[in-house]
């Protein structure tokens, strides 16, 4: 009889241990057995409690580390975003398009041209052309040391696109090195109006301006002639 009772008690306690372990597994890390009696089983119970303590400590630490890593990652991503932003800002700043005369835009290019920068430059120039209504633009590449096939093609594309908008784009300041590269690469720039220096390009642009002014004046006089009759 007494034996049976003891076994019942032990079963109860083992069930309780199982319950605690189950709740720990489910995430309740504060659950403990906290046995009050002192006997053979209580040693095991205390050992399990200790084990749970160790486990939860480790778990907490890991969570903390994970949080730190995540925070750092977010910070890095934020920084990366800033870098990208600054990069694109820099690209835009490095190709200023300015109106220098009636009807004339100048885009001085300084430094090495890569495909991306040339692309942004082209977009800026074309947008500025439409915005200002200038029909002549000068792309001055005096400050460009070298070009490759891709960049030369982008320049060609810019001039063609400008023509499609109904304007003329002149390239000035082609250095001997660039002239050599362009011919060696087999790129045909013959359809493009090129000038030796920015000054030559400016003179050409002003002459073009005068020409169209003259035409306007001419048509004005022609109209008044008709009126007199």
């Amino acid at each position: 009889m007494k034996e049976d009772y003891k076994i019942e008690r032990v079963k109860e306690r083992i069930n309780y241990i199982e319950d605690v372990l189950a709740s720990v597994a489910a995430g309740d890390i504060d659950a403990r057995i906290n046995s009050e009696v002192e006997d053979d089983l209580s040693g095991i119970e205390a050992a399990i409690d200790l084990l749970i303590d160790d486990l939860t400590d480790e778990l907490k630490q890991r969570k903390k580390m994970q949080k730190e890593v995540e925070e750092k990652l977010a910070k890095i991503q934020e920084q990366q975003k800033t870098i990208f932003q600054q990069q694109s800002d820099l690209l835009e700043l490095s190709s200023p398009v300015s109106k220098v005369w009636d009807n004339v835009l100048i885009l001085p290019v300084i430094g090495t041209l890569d495909s991306q920068r040339t692309q942004i430059m082209m977009e800026n120039l074309l947008e500025k052309i439409v915005e200002t209504g200038c029909t002549i633009s000068i792309l001055d590449i005096t400050g460009v040391p070298t070009v490759d096939t891709q960049v030369a093609n982008h320049l060609l594309k810019t001039v063609t696109a400008a023509r499609l908008l109904g304007t003329e784009c002149i390239i000035s300041g082609i250095s001997p090195a660039i002239a050599q590269t362009i011919v060696h690469l087999g790129i045909d720039l013959s359809s493009i109006n090129t000038k030796a220096t920015l000054q030559d390009a400016m003179i050409y642009a002003m002459k073009q301006n005068q020409l169209s002014e003259n035409v306007k004046l001419h048509s004005l006089f022609a109209d008044s002639d008709e009126n007199e009759e």
Partner: protein
């Protein structure tokens, strides 16, 4: 859903010696072809010497519409009328060049006013040649 093609006719306006066409809708291919013959018929009917085609609201010109426009210019010039494409958006110009459609031989102008000046100048030049 299916709109009658003729409902969407693009208006052609005649001012002086010139025709003015302003394309305000995203054209499908049939409408583009229809516009082409419509303009040519109008040139014949009115004896117009120039055509201004305003595409400033077009957000996209693909190879078909591009070909239609440059074909239009050639056809009109055989009929003794000059075509000027006016107001192309920068994005459209870049895309056309990248597509490989550089439209050589097609005259373009930044805006209506400049296009009109261009046509007037050409008409005057032709007059001088005669006398």
């Amino acid at each position: 859903m299916n709109i009658d093609l003729h409902e969407k006719r693009i208006p052609i306006i005649k001012i002086g010696n010139f025709l003015i066409v302003s394309i305000q809708v995203d054209m499908h291919d049939k409408l583009a072809i229809q516009l082409q013959s419509q303009i040519l018929e109008e040139i014949e009917k009115t004896g117009a010497k120039g055509v201004l085609i305003d595409i400033s609201v077009l957000e996209m010109v693909d190879s078909f519409i591009g070909r239609m426009l440059s074909g239009m210019a050639t056809m009109a010039s055989i009929m003794d009328a000059s075509v000027v494409i006016v107001g192309m958006q920068p994005a459209v110009a870049i895309t056309l060049v990248e597509l490989g459609l550089e439209m050589p031989g097609v005259d373009t102008a930044l805006n209506m006013e400049k296009g009109m000046e261009m046509l007037e100048k050409r008409l005057k030049d032709d007059d001088y040649k005669l006398y």
